[in-house]
Protein backbone atom coordinates (compact mmCIF):
# COMPACT_ATOMS: atom_id res chain seq x y z
CA UNK A 1 0.00 0.00 0.00
CA UNK A 2 2.85 2.34 0.84
CA UNK A 3 4.33 1.64 -2.57
CA UNK A 4 1.05 2.50 -4.26
CA UNK A 5 0.73 5.60 -2.12
CA UNK A 6 4.15 6.96 -3.05
CA UNK A 7 3.70 6.04 -6.70
CA UNK A 8 0.31 7.77 -6.91
CA UNK A 9 1.74 10.83 -5.19
CA UNK A 10 4.50 10.94 -7.82
CA UNK A 11 2.08 10.55 -10.72
CA UNK A 12 -0.35 13.01 -9.13
CA UNK A 13 2.34 15.70 -8.87
CA UNK A 14 3.28 15.20 -12.52
CA UNK A 15 -0.35 15.46 -13.60
CA UNK A 16 -0.95 18.59 -11.52
CA UNK A 17 2.14 20.12 -13.09
CA UNK A 18 0.74 19.44 -16.55
CA UNK A 19 -2.56 21.05 -15.53
CA UNK A 20 -0.77 24.07 -14.08
CA UNK A 21 1.16 24.50 -17.31
CA UNK A 22 -2.06 24.21 -19.27
CA UNK A 23 -3.79 26.94 -17.29
CA UNK A 24 -0.75 29.15 -17.87
CA UNK A 25 -1.04 28.47 -21.57
CA UNK A 26 2.34 26.78 -21.71
CA UNK A 27 3.20 23.25 -22.64
CA UNK A 28 5.49 20.68 -21.08
CA UNK A 29 8.57 20.06 -23.21
CA UNK A 30 7.52 16.44 -23.68
CA UNK A 31 4.15 17.35 -25.09
CA UNK A 32 5.15 20.43 -27.04
CA UNK A 33 3.95 20.39 -30.59
CA UNK A 34 6.99 20.15 -32.74
CA UNK A 35 7.27 23.53 -34.47
CA UNK A 36 8.63 22.49 -37.82
CA UNK A 37 5.81 20.10 -38.52
CA UNK A 38 2.65 22.08 -38.06
CA UNK A 39 2.49 25.83 -37.83
CA UNK A 40 5.91 26.80 -38.90
CA UNK A 41 5.77 25.06 -42.22
CA UNK A 42 3.96 28.10 -43.54
CA UNK A 43 6.63 30.55 -42.49
CA UNK A 44 9.56 30.72 -44.92
CA UNK A 45 12.30 28.49 -43.53
CA UNK A 46 15.06 30.99 -44.21
CA UNK A 47 13.65 33.21 -41.45
CA UNK A 48 14.81 30.70 -38.86
CA UNK A 49 18.40 30.41 -39.92
CA UNK A 50 20.72 32.42 -37.76
CA UNK A 51 24.37 32.81 -38.87
CA UNK A 52 26.77 31.14 -36.43
CA UNK A 53 28.68 34.31 -35.59
CA UNK A 54 25.57 36.21 -34.56
CA UNK A 55 24.19 36.39 -31.02
CA UNK A 56 20.45 36.92 -30.85
CA UNK A 57 18.91 38.64 -27.84
CA UNK A 58 15.46 38.05 -26.39
CA UNK A 59 14.40 41.43 -27.69
CA UNK A 60 14.93 40.38 -31.34
CA UNK A 61 18.03 42.46 -31.77
CA UNK A 62 21.29 40.74 -32.68
CA UNK A 63 24.93 41.59 -32.04
CA UNK A 64 28.02 40.55 -33.91
CA UNK A 65 31.62 41.29 -33.10
CA UNK A 66 33.27 43.05 -36.03
CA UNK A 67 36.94 43.37 -36.92
CA UNK A 68 37.26 46.75 -35.27
CA UNK A 69 36.32 45.21 -31.92
CA UNK A 70 32.98 46.95 -32.02
CA UNK A 71 29.61 45.28 -31.82
CA UNK A 72 27.29 45.57 -34.78
CA UNK A 73 23.68 45.67 -33.67
CA UNK A 74 20.71 44.97 -35.90
CA UNK A 75 17.22 43.52 -35.96
CA UNK A 76 16.75 39.80 -36.53
CA UNK A 77 14.56 38.15 -39.13
CA UNK A 78 11.62 37.92 -36.78
CA UNK A 79 11.71 41.59 -35.82
CA UNK A 80 12.15 42.44 -39.45
CA UNK A 81 8.95 40.78 -40.59
CA UNK A 82 6.70 40.10 -37.60
CA UNK A 83 3.97 42.62 -38.31
CA UNK A 84 4.85 43.47 -41.88
CA UNK A 85 7.93 45.11 -43.34
CA UNK A 86 9.99 46.90 -40.77
CA UNK A 87 11.61 50.28 -41.28
CA UNK A 88 14.15 51.40 -38.75
CA UNK A 89 13.72 54.99 -37.70
CA UNK A 90 15.11 57.15 -34.94
CA UNK A 91 18.60 55.88 -34.22
CA UNK A 92 20.55 57.41 -31.32
CA UNK A 93 23.28 59.92 -32.03
CA UNK A 94 26.96 59.07 -32.09
CA UNK A 95 28.65 59.04 -28.71
CA UNK A 96 25.54 58.44 -26.69
CA UNK A 97 25.95 56.05 -23.77
CA UNK A 98 23.48 53.21 -23.73
CA UNK A 99 22.71 50.79 -20.91
CA UNK A 100 21.39 47.33 -21.67
CA UNK A 101 17.61 47.72 -21.86
CA UNK A 102 17.60 51.33 -23.13
CA UNK A 103 15.78 52.03 -26.37
CA UNK A 104 18.35 51.71 -29.13
CA UNK A 105 16.18 52.54 -32.14
CA UNK A 106 12.58 52.69 -33.16
CA UNK A 107 10.95 50.98 -36.05
CA UNK A 108 7.65 51.11 -37.86
CA UNK A 109 5.42 48.48 -39.35
CA UNK A 110 3.25 50.63 -41.58
CA UNK A 111 1.82 53.23 -39.24
CA UNK A 112 2.59 51.31 -36.03
CA UNK A 113 5.68 52.32 -34.07
CA UNK A 114 7.69 49.91 -31.94
CA UNK A 115 10.82 50.32 -29.82
CA UNK A 116 13.83 48.02 -29.86
CA UNK A 117 16.00 47.71 -26.76
CA UNK A 118 19.74 47.69 -26.64
CA UNK A 119 21.04 44.20 -25.80
CA UNK A 120 24.38 45.56 -24.54
CA UNK A 121 25.73 48.50 -22.61
CA UNK A 122 28.23 50.81 -24.29
CA UNK A 123 28.84 53.85 -26.44
CA UNK A 124 27.25 54.39 -29.83
CA UNK A 125 30.16 54.66 -32.22
CA UNK A 126 28.53 54.78 -35.62
CA UNK A 127 25.17 54.68 -37.31
CA UNK A 128 24.32 53.04 -40.62
CA UNK A 129 22.26 55.69 -42.31
CA UNK A 130 21.78 53.50 -45.36
CA UNK A 131 19.35 51.20 -43.51
CA UNK A 132 17.21 53.91 -41.98
CA UNK A 133 13.73 54.12 -43.38
CA UNK A 134 14.24 51.27 -45.84
CA UNK A 135 13.10 47.70 -46.18
CA UNK A 136 15.88 45.34 -45.10
CA UNK A 137 16.67 42.36 -47.30
CA UNK A 138 19.54 40.81 -45.40
CA UNK A 139 18.76 41.33 -41.71
CA UNK A 140 21.94 39.80 -40.32
CA UNK A 141 24.28 41.85 -42.48
CA UNK A 142 22.50 45.16 -42.39
CA UNK A 143 23.52 46.54 -39.05
CA UNK A 144 21.96 49.69 -37.72
CA UNK A 145 24.28 50.79 -34.94
CA UNK A 146 27.86 50.06 -33.90
CA UNK A 147 28.53 49.99 -30.20
CA UNK A 148 31.75 50.02 -28.24
CA UNK A 149 30.81 47.75 -25.37
CA UNK A 150 31.51 48.76 -21.83
CA UNK A 151 34.42 46.59 -20.82
CA UNK A 152 33.61 43.34 -19.08
CA UNK A 153 29.97 44.18 -19.16
CA UNK A 154 28.82 42.04 -22.02
CA UNK A 155 25.88 40.09 -20.77
CA UNK A 156 26.78 37.00 -22.76
CA UNK A 157 24.27 34.84 -20.99
CA UNK A 158 21.31 36.72 -22.37
CA UNK A 159 21.97 35.62 -25.94
CA UNK A 160 21.10 32.64 -28.08
CA UNK A 161 23.24 31.21 -30.82
CA UNK A 162 23.20 28.62 -33.56
CA UNK A 163 20.57 25.89 -33.24
CA UNK A 164 19.24 27.25 -30.00
CA UNK A 165 18.58 30.56 -31.70
CA UNK A 166 16.83 28.91 -34.65
CA UNK A 167 14.65 26.80 -32.38
CA UNK A 168 13.78 29.82 -30.34
CA UNK A 169 12.94 31.72 -33.48
CA UNK A 170 10.50 28.98 -34.48
CA UNK A 171 8.83 29.18 -31.09
CA UNK A 172 8.59 32.94 -31.39
CA UNK A 173 6.75 32.62 -34.68
CA UNK A 174 4.28 30.21 -33.09
CA UNK A 175 3.88 32.57 -30.19
CA UNK A 176 3.30 35.36 -32.68
CA UNK A 177 0.60 33.40 -34.42
CA UNK A 178 -1.22 32.88 -31.13
CA UNK A 179 -0.68 36.48 -30.21
CA UNK A 180 -2.16 37.69 -33.45
CA UNK A 181 -5.11 35.37 -33.19
CA UNK A 182 -6.06 36.65 -29.77
CA UNK A 183 -5.24 40.31 -30.39
CA UNK A 184 -6.28 41.18 -33.89
CA UNK A 185 -9.51 43.04 -34.39
CA UNK A 186 -10.16 41.29 -37.64
CA UNK A 187 -9.16 37.72 -37.23
CA UNK A 188 -10.16 36.91 -40.73
CA UNK A 189 -7.48 39.09 -42.22
CA UNK A 190 -4.73 37.56 -40.19
CA UNK A 191 -5.88 34.06 -40.82
CA UNK A 192 -6.26 34.56 -44.49
CA UNK A 193 -3.15 36.52 -45.19
CA UNK A 194 -0.48 35.37 -42.84
CA UNK A 195 -0.98 31.68 -42.58
CA UNK A 196 -3.11 30.67 -45.48
CA UNK A 197 -1.27 32.62 -48.05
CA UNK A 198 1.97 30.89 -47.24
CA UNK A 199 3.90 34.04 -46.54
CA UNK A 200 3.83 36.75 -43.96
CA UNK A 201 1.35 39.42 -44.66
CA UNK A 202 2.55 42.94 -45.04
CA UNK A 203 -0.65 44.22 -43.51
CA UNK A 204 -0.86 42.39 -40.22
CA UNK A 205 -0.25 45.56 -38.28
CA UNK A 206 -3.44 47.05 -39.62
CA UNK A 207 -5.48 44.58 -37.61
CA UNK A 208 -3.83 45.50 -34.33
CA UNK A 209 -4.93 48.20 -31.90
CA UNK A 210 -2.41 50.54 -30.29
CA UNK A 211 -2.75 48.65 -27.04
CA UNK A 212 -1.90 45.42 -28.82
CA UNK A 213 1.26 47.03 -30.10
CA UNK A 214 2.29 47.78 -26.53
CA UNK A 215 1.57 44.16 -25.65
CA UNK A 216 3.60 43.10 -28.67
CA UNK A 217 6.57 45.09 -27.38
CA UNK A 218 6.22 43.51 -23.96
CA UNK A 219 5.85 39.99 -25.31
CA UNK A 220 8.44 40.04 -28.05
CA UNK A 221 10.75 42.99 -27.80
CA UNK A 222 11.64 43.09 -24.11
CA UNK A 223 14.95 41.59 -23.01
Amino acid sequence: MVAIFVLSLFILMLSIDLLVLKTQGKSHPAFETIPSEIDVSLVPQNLFTVPSDVLVSNGHTWVKLNKEGLLNVGVDAFGNSALGDLSIIGCPENGIKLTRGDVIFKGTYGNKKVKFLSPVSGNVESINSSVIGKKLFDPYNEWAVKILPKEGNLHVEGFLTGNNASNWMKKEFIKLKNFLESNSQETAIVGATMYDGGSLSKDVHVALSDKSIIDFEKEFLSL
Partner: protein, 394 residues
Protein backbone atom coordinates in the same frame (compact mmCIF):
# COMPACT_ATOMS: atom_id res chain seq x y z
CA UNK B 1 16.34 37.39 -10.63
CA UNK B 2 14.95 40.50 -9.11
CA UNK B 3 13.49 40.32 -5.59
CA UNK B 4 9.94 41.05 -6.71
CA UNK B 5 10.26 38.26 -9.26
CA UNK B 6 11.25 35.82 -6.53
CA UNK B 7 8.33 36.85 -4.36
CA UNK B 8 5.81 36.66 -7.17
CA UNK B 9 3.61 33.75 -6.16
CA UNK B 10 3.22 30.91 -8.60
CA UNK B 11 1.30 27.71 -8.01
CA UNK B 12 4.35 25.60 -7.24
CA UNK B 13 5.95 28.25 -5.05
CA UNK B 14 2.83 28.36 -2.88
CA UNK B 15 2.66 24.55 -2.72
CA UNK B 16 6.37 24.34 -1.87
CA UNK B 17 6.03 26.85 0.93
CA UNK B 18 3.09 24.92 2.38
CA UNK B 19 4.96 21.61 2.16
CA UNK B 20 8.14 23.02 3.70
CA UNK B 21 6.22 24.72 6.52
CA UNK B 22 4.37 21.50 7.33
CA UNK B 23 7.64 19.60 7.05
CA UNK B 24 9.47 21.92 9.42
CA UNK B 25 6.69 21.61 11.96
CA UNK B 26 6.82 17.82 11.67
CA UNK B 27 10.59 17.89 12.01
CA UNK B 28 10.22 19.90 15.19
CA UNK B 29 7.71 17.37 16.53
CA UNK B 30 9.92 14.47 15.51
CA UNK B 31 12.92 15.78 17.45
CA UNK B 32 11.00 17.07 20.45
CA UNK B 33 8.67 14.11 20.96
CA UNK B 34 10.49 11.14 19.51
CA UNK B 35 9.71 8.56 16.87
CA UNK B 36 6.76 6.94 18.60
CA UNK B 37 4.62 10.07 18.67
CA UNK B 38 5.32 11.09 15.11
CA UNK B 39 5.64 7.89 13.10
CA UNK B 40 3.60 4.79 12.61
CA UNK B 41 6.65 2.59 12.99
CA UNK B 42 6.26 -0.44 15.14
CA UNK B 43 8.48 -2.96 16.90
CA UNK B 44 7.97 -5.56 14.19
CA UNK B 45 7.96 -2.95 11.42
CA UNK B 46 10.91 -0.81 12.47
CA UNK B 47 11.66 0.51 8.98
CA UNK B 48 9.09 2.50 7.10
CA UNK B 49 8.69 5.19 4.50
CA UNK B 50 11.92 6.95 5.38
CA UNK B 51 14.17 3.95 4.84
CA UNK B 52 12.22 3.02 1.73
CA UNK B 53 12.72 6.53 0.46
CA UNK B 54 16.44 6.33 1.14
CA UNK B 55 16.59 3.31 -1.16
CA UNK B 56 14.68 5.28 -3.78
CA UNK B 57 16.87 8.33 -3.50
CA UNK B 58 20.08 6.38 -3.83
CA UNK B 59 18.69 4.26 -6.66
CA UNK B 60 17.54 7.26 -8.66
CA UNK B 61 20.85 9.05 -8.11
CA UNK B 62 22.75 6.19 -9.73
CA UNK B 63 23.35 8.09 -12.96
CA UNK B 64 26.14 9.90 -11.12
CA UNK B 65 28.46 6.96 -11.54
CA UNK B 66 27.11 5.39 -14.73
CA UNK B 67 27.37 8.59 -16.76
CA UNK B 68 30.75 9.48 -15.26
CA UNK B 69 32.02 6.02 -16.22
CA UNK B 70 30.54 6.23 -19.72
CA UNK B 71 32.26 9.51 -20.44
CA UNK B 72 35.52 9.29 -18.54
CA UNK B 73 36.27 5.56 -18.48
CA UNK B 74 34.70 4.42 -21.73
CA UNK B 75 35.54 7.75 -23.41
CA UNK B 76 32.13 8.19 -25.02
CA UNK B 77 32.29 11.96 -25.04
CA UNK B 78 28.97 12.33 -26.75
CA UNK B 79 27.35 12.05 -23.32
CA UNK B 80 29.48 14.77 -21.79
CA UNK B 81 26.60 17.25 -21.43
CA UNK B 82 24.93 14.80 -19.04
CA UNK B 83 27.90 14.43 -16.69
CA UNK B 84 27.42 17.57 -14.64
CA UNK B 85 23.65 17.25 -14.22
CA UNK B 86 24.10 13.59 -13.27
CA UNK B 87 26.75 14.34 -10.68
CA UNK B 88 24.72 17.20 -9.27
CA UNK B 89 21.67 14.93 -9.09
CA UNK B 90 23.68 12.30 -7.29
CA UNK B 91 25.16 14.81 -4.88
CA UNK B 92 21.79 16.31 -4.01
CA UNK B 93 20.15 12.88 -3.92
CA UNK B 94 22.74 11.62 -1.45
CA UNK B 95 22.42 14.74 0.69
CA UNK B 96 18.68 14.13 0.83
CA UNK B 97 19.26 10.54 1.82
CA UNK B 98 21.66 11.51 4.57
CA UNK B 99 19.22 14.10 5.97
CA UNK B 100 16.41 11.58 5.91
CA UNK B 101 18.63 9.00 7.62
CA UNK B 102 19.44 11.43 10.40
CA UNK B 103 15.73 12.07 10.89
CA UNK B 104 15.11 8.34 10.96
CA UNK B 105 17.88 7.49 13.42
CA UNK B 106 16.63 6.96 16.93
CA UNK B 107 19.68 8.71 18.32
CA UNK B 108 20.65 11.22 15.65
CA UNK B 109 23.18 12.83 17.99
CA UNK B 110 25.25 9.64 17.61
CA UNK B 111 25.32 9.74 13.81
CA UNK B 112 29.14 10.05 13.84
CA UNK B 113 29.63 6.77 15.72
CA UNK B 114 30.23 4.65 12.58
CA UNK B 115 33.35 6.73 11.97
CA UNK B 116 35.02 5.45 15.11
CA UNK B 117 33.06 2.32 16.08
CA UNK B 118 33.56 -0.33 13.48
CA UNK B 119 31.81 -3.59 12.82
CA UNK B 120 33.13 -4.77 9.49
CA UNK B 121 30.66 -7.67 9.35
CA UNK B 122 27.73 -5.31 9.06
CA UNK B 123 26.31 -4.51 5.63
CA UNK B 124 25.07 -1.28 7.12
CA UNK B 125 28.63 -0.42 8.07
CA UNK B 126 29.82 -1.03 4.54
CA UNK B 127 26.99 1.08 3.13
CA UNK B 128 27.73 3.92 5.52
CA UNK B 129 31.38 4.02 4.56
CA UNK B 130 30.70 3.67 0.86
CA UNK B 131 28.24 6.55 1.04
CA UNK B 132 30.75 8.69 2.93
CA UNK B 133 33.47 7.90 0.39
CA UNK B 134 31.19 8.28 -2.60
CA UNK B 135 29.91 11.65 -1.38
CA UNK B 136 33.55 12.73 -1.16
CA UNK B 137 34.08 11.50 -4.71
CA UNK B 138 31.01 13.42 -5.87
CA UNK B 139 32.34 16.54 -4.18
CA UNK B 140 35.65 16.13 -6.02
CA UNK B 141 33.83 15.52 -9.28
CA UNK B 142 31.64 18.57 -8.89
CA UNK B 143 34.32 20.85 -7.43
CA UNK B 144 35.65 21.96 -10.85
CA UNK B 145 32.25 23.46 -11.66
CA UNK B 146 32.36 25.59 -8.52
CA UNK B 147 36.02 26.48 -8.97
CA UNK B 148 35.37 27.44 -12.59
CA UNK B 149 32.81 29.94 -11.41
CA UNK B 150 35.33 31.59 -9.13
CA UNK B 151 38.08 31.28 -11.75
CA UNK B 152 40.42 29.29 -9.50
CA UNK B 153 42.62 27.46 -11.96
CA UNK B 154 45.29 25.81 -9.83
CA UNK B 155 42.99 23.43 -7.93
CA UNK B 156 41.19 22.52 -11.16
CA UNK B 157 44.51 21.35 -12.60
CA UNK B 158 45.13 19.11 -9.60
CA UNK B 159 41.59 17.73 -9.80
CA UNK B 160 42.02 17.04 -13.51
CA UNK B 161 45.12 15.02 -12.80
CA UNK B 162 43.44 12.76 -10.29
CA UNK B 163 40.11 12.69 -12.12
CA UNK B 164 40.40 9.18 -13.58
CA UNK B 165 41.25 7.41 -10.30
CA UNK B 166 38.49 9.44 -8.66
CA UNK B 167 35.94 8.31 -11.25
CA UNK B 168 37.06 4.68 -10.90
CA UNK B 169 36.78 4.90 -7.12
CA UNK B 170 33.34 6.44 -7.53
CA UNK B 171 32.17 3.58 -9.74
CA UNK B 172 33.48 0.98 -7.28
CA UNK B 173 31.94 2.64 -4.24
CA UNK B 174 28.64 2.98 -6.06
CA UNK B 175 28.65 -0.61 -7.21
CA UNK B 176 29.25 -1.72 -3.65
CA UNK B 177 26.65 0.32 -1.85
CA UNK B 178 23.97 0.16 -4.52
CA UNK B 179 24.11 -3.60 -4.37
CA UNK B 180 24.51 -3.63 -0.60
CA UNK B 181 21.13 -2.04 -0.16
CA UNK B 182 19.91 -5.37 -1.47
CA UNK B 183 22.34 -7.25 0.80
CA UNK B 184 20.67 -5.60 3.80
CA UNK B 185 17.75 -7.96 3.32
CA UNK B 186 19.77 -11.12 2.78
CA UNK B 187 19.65 -11.75 6.52
CA UNK B 188 15.84 -11.91 6.62
CA UNK B 189 14.98 -14.91 4.44
CA UNK B 190 12.03 -15.78 6.64
CA UNK B 191 10.63 -12.31 6.83
CA UNK B 192 10.90 -10.89 3.31
CA UNK B 193 8.30 -12.28 0.93
CA UNK B 194 9.85 -14.85 -1.45
CA UNK B 195 8.73 -12.84 -4.47
CA UNK B 196 11.48 -10.40 -3.56
CA UNK B 197 13.82 -12.40 -1.39
CA UNK B 198 16.64 -13.91 -3.34
CA UNK B 199 20.29 -14.52 -2.83
CA UNK B 200 20.66 -12.42 -5.97
CA UNK B 201 19.03 -9.42 -4.27
CA UNK B 202 22.23 -7.32 -4.41
CA UNK B 203 22.55 -7.98 -8.14
CA UNK B 204 18.90 -7.09 -8.74
CA UNK B 205 19.38 -3.85 -6.85
CA UNK B 206 22.50 -3.00 -8.80
CA UNK B 207 20.99 -3.64 -12.22
CA UNK B 208 17.74 -1.85 -11.48
CA UNK B 209 19.55 1.21 -10.18
CA UNK B 210 21.45 1.60 -13.43
CA UNK B 211 18.29 1.58 -15.53
CA UNK B 212 16.44 3.85 -13.13
CA UNK B 213 19.34 6.25 -12.69
CA UNK B 214 19.59 6.77 -16.44
CA UNK B 215 15.82 7.17 -16.71
CA UNK B 216 15.99 9.73 -13.95
CA UNK B 217 18.49 11.75 -15.98
CA UNK B 218 16.20 11.57 -19.00
CA UNK B 219 13.21 12.59 -16.86
CA UNK B 220 15.21 15.36 -15.28
CA UNK B 221 16.26 16.78 -18.65
CA UNK B 222 12.58 17.36 -19.38
CA UNK B 223 11.96 18.99 -16.03
CA UNK B 224 15.01 21.21 -16.44
CA UNK B 225 13.97 22.30 -19.90
CA UNK B 226 10.46 22.90 -18.54
CA UNK B 227 11.71 24.97 -15.61
CA UNK B 228 14.37 27.06 -17.24
CA UNK B 229 13.30 27.82 -20.79
CA UNK B 230 11.12 30.75 -19.80
CA UNK B 231 13.69 32.44 -17.69
CA UNK B 232 15.40 35.41 -19.14
CA UNK B 233 19.12 35.38 -19.41
CA UNK B 234 19.38 31.63 -19.00
CA UNK B 235 20.99 29.60 -21.68
CA UNK B 236 18.25 27.29 -22.74
CA UNK B 237 19.50 23.79 -22.03
CA UNK B 238 16.89 22.44 -24.42
CA UNK B 239 16.34 18.75 -25.00
CA UNK B 240 19.23 16.95 -26.55
CA UNK B 241 17.17 14.16 -28.00
CA UNK B 242 20.09 12.45 -29.67
CA UNK B 243 21.89 11.96 -26.37
CA UNK B 244 18.71 11.06 -24.49
CA UNK B 245 17.83 8.42 -27.08
CA UNK B 246 21.28 6.95 -26.65
CA UNK B 247 20.77 6.80 -22.90
CA UNK B 248 17.35 5.25 -23.50
CA UNK B 249 18.98 2.49 -25.50
CA UNK B 250 21.24 1.76 -22.54
CA UNK B 251 18.16 1.63 -20.32
CA UNK B 252 16.65 -0.85 -22.76
CA UNK B 253 19.68 -3.17 -22.60
CA UNK B 254 19.91 -2.96 -18.82
CA UNK B 255 16.19 -3.59 -18.34
CA UNK B 256 16.41 -6.70 -20.50
CA UNK B 257 19.41 -7.93 -18.53
CA UNK B 258 17.56 -7.33 -15.26
CA UNK B 259 14.44 -9.04 -16.54
CA UNK B 260 16.36 -12.11 -17.74
CA UNK B 261 18.10 -12.35 -14.38
CA UNK B 262 14.75 -12.15 -12.62
CA UNK B 263 13.33 -14.91 -14.81
CA UNK B 264 16.40 -17.03 -14.13
CA UNK B 265 16.03 -16.37 -10.40
CA UNK B 266 12.35 -17.34 -10.41
CA UNK B 267 12.85 -20.52 -12.39
CA UNK B 268 15.96 -21.75 -10.61
CA UNK B 269 14.51 -21.13 -7.16
CA UNK B 270 11.06 -22.45 -8.03
CA UNK B 271 9.35 -19.20 -7.17
CA UNK B 272 7.00 -19.08 -10.14
CA UNK B 273 4.33 -20.73 -8.01
CA UNK B 274 4.02 -17.58 -5.89
CA UNK B 275 2.79 -15.65 -8.91
CA UNK B 276 -0.35 -17.77 -8.95
CA UNK B 277 -1.29 -16.95 -5.37
CA UNK B 278 -3.74 -14.07 -5.23
CA UNK B 279 -2.46 -11.63 -2.63
CA UNK B 280 -1.50 -8.00 -2.24
CA UNK B 281 2.14 -8.97 -2.65
CA UNK B 282 1.52 -10.71 -5.95
CA UNK B 283 -0.48 -7.80 -7.36
CA UNK B 284 2.16 -5.28 -6.36
CA UNK B 285 4.92 -7.49 -7.70
CA UNK B 286 3.15 -7.85 -11.02
CA UNK B 287 2.53 -4.11 -11.17
CA UNK B 288 6.20 -3.49 -10.48
CA UNK B 289 7.34 -5.86 -13.21
CA UNK B 290 4.79 -4.84 -15.82
CA UNK B 291 5.04 -1.09 -15.30
CA UNK B 292 8.73 -0.89 -14.59
CA UNK B 293 10.15 -3.57 -16.85
CA UNK B 294 7.85 -5.12 -19.43
CA UNK B 295 6.14 -1.97 -20.70
CA UNK B 296 9.38 0.02 -21.03
CA UNK B 297 11.13 -2.90 -22.73
CA UNK B 298 8.24 -3.23 -25.17
CA UNK B 299 8.23 0.48 -25.95
CA UNK B 300 11.98 0.86 -26.12
CA UNK B 301 12.32 -1.96 -28.61
CA UNK B 302 10.83 0.37 -31.24
CA UNK B 303 13.19 3.03 -32.45
CA UNK B 304 10.30 5.37 -33.15
CA UNK B 305 9.45 5.47 -29.44
CA UNK B 306 13.07 5.90 -28.43
CA UNK B 307 13.49 9.03 -30.49
CA UNK B 308 10.06 10.48 -29.79
CA UNK B 309 10.01 13.24 -27.18
CA UNK B 310 6.64 12.35 -25.70
CA UNK B 311 7.19 8.60 -25.53
CA UNK B 312 10.67 8.87 -24.11
CA UNK B 313 9.24 10.96 -21.29
CA UNK B 314 6.53 8.39 -20.61
CA UNK B 315 9.07 5.56 -20.72
CA UNK B 316 11.32 7.30 -18.22
CA UNK B 317 8.37 7.77 -15.88
CA UNK B 318 7.55 4.05 -16.22
CA UNK B 319 11.08 2.96 -15.30
CA UNK B 320 11.21 5.37 -12.36
CA UNK B 321 7.81 4.12 -11.19
CA UNK B 322 9.16 0.60 -11.43
CA UNK B 323 12.03 1.48 -9.13
CA UNK B 324 9.73 3.28 -6.68
CA UNK B 325 7.54 0.19 -6.53
CA UNK B 326 10.48 -2.20 -6.28
CA UNK B 327 12.28 -0.44 -3.45
CA UNK B 328 9.14 0.15 -1.43
CA UNK B 329 7.95 -3.38 -2.09
CA UNK B 330 11.18 -4.77 -0.72
CA UNK B 331 11.30 -2.43 2.26
CA UNK B 332 7.61 -2.31 3.17
CA UNK B 333 5.21 -4.52 1.20
CA UNK B 334 7.36 -7.62 1.29
CA UNK B 335 7.81 -7.43 5.05
CA UNK B 336 4.22 -6.51 5.95
CA UNK B 337 2.92 -10.07 6.22
CA UNK B 338 5.67 -11.23 8.57
CA UNK B 339 5.49 -8.11 10.73
CA UNK B 340 1.85 -8.74 11.55
CA UNK B 341 0.97 -5.06 11.36
CA UNK B 342 -0.27 -3.04 8.45
CA UNK B 343 2.19 -0.16 8.36
CA UNK B 344 1.15 3.05 6.67
CA UNK B 345 3.21 6.22 7.10
CA UNK B 346 1.93 8.93 9.43
CA UNK B 347 1.34 12.52 8.39
CA UNK B 348 4.65 13.58 9.89
CA UNK B 349 6.57 10.91 8.02
CA UNK B 350 5.02 11.98 4.74
CA UNK B 351 5.44 15.69 5.34
CA UNK B 352 9.10 15.44 6.35
CA UNK B 353 9.81 13.33 3.27
CA UNK B 354 8.00 15.75 0.99
CA UNK B 355 9.79 18.68 2.57
CA UNK B 356 13.17 17.14 1.84
CA UNK B 357 12.17 16.42 -1.76
CA UNK B 358 11.07 20.03 -2.22
CA UNK B 359 14.30 21.29 -0.65
CA UNK B 360 16.33 19.00 -2.91
CA UNK B 361 14.59 20.36 -6.00
CA UNK B 362 15.14 23.88 -4.73
CA UNK B 363 18.83 23.18 -4.15
CA UNK B 364 19.11 21.81 -7.68
CA UNK B 365 17.51 24.95 -9.06
CA UNK B 366 19.76 27.26 -7.09
CA UNK B 367 22.93 25.44 -8.14
CA UNK B 368 21.86 25.38 -11.79
CA UNK B 369 21.17 29.11 -11.60
CA UNK B 370 24.53 30.05 -10.20
CA UNK B 371 26.91 27.47 -11.59
CA UNK B 372 27.60 26.34 -15.14
CA UNK B 373 25.91 22.94 -14.90
CA UNK B 374 24.55 22.87 -18.43
CA UNK B 375 27.43 23.43 -20.77
CA UNK B 376 26.85 23.08 -24.47
CA UNK B 377 27.34 26.46 -26.10
CA UNK B 378 29.78 27.53 -23.46
CA UNK B 379 32.88 27.33 -25.64
CA UNK B 380 31.57 29.69 -28.25
CA UNK B 381 30.47 32.38 -25.84
CA UNK B 382 33.58 32.30 -23.75
CA UNK B 383 35.65 32.73 -26.87
CA UNK B 384 33.65 35.76 -27.80
CA UNK B 385 33.89 37.11 -24.29
CA UNK B 386 37.65 36.82 -24.35
CA UNK B 387 37.91 38.47 -27.77
CA UNK B 388 36.01 41.47 -26.54
CA UNK B 389 38.17 41.81 -23.49
CA UNK B 390 41.30 41.52 -25.57
CA UNK B 391 40.28 44.26 -27.97
CA UNK B 392 39.76 46.50 -25.01
CA UNK B 393 43.15 45.89 -23.54
CA UNK B 394 44.67 46.97 -26.86
Amino acid sequence: MKPNEILKPTFWKVVSVIIVTAGLYSTFLRFSQGLGATTNLYDTAPWGLWIGFDFLGVGLAAAGFTIAATVHIFNLHKYEPLVRPAILTAFIGYSLVVCLLVVDLGRPENFWHPLVMWNIHSVMFEITWCIICYTTVLTLEFAPVVLEKFKLKAPIKILKKISIPVVIAGVLFSTLHQSSFGSLYLIVPGRLHPLWYSSLLPVHFFISCIAAGLSMIIFESYQVSRAFNEEKGFKNPGLKMEILSGAAFAVYIVLIAGFLLKIFDFISNGKLIYLTIASTETYLFLLEIILGTIVPIALLSYKKFRIDKKWLYIISICVISGLILNRLNVSVTGLAASSGVNYFPSFDEVSITMMLVVLAMFAFRVVVNYFPVFVEEEVHNIALDKKIQLTHIK
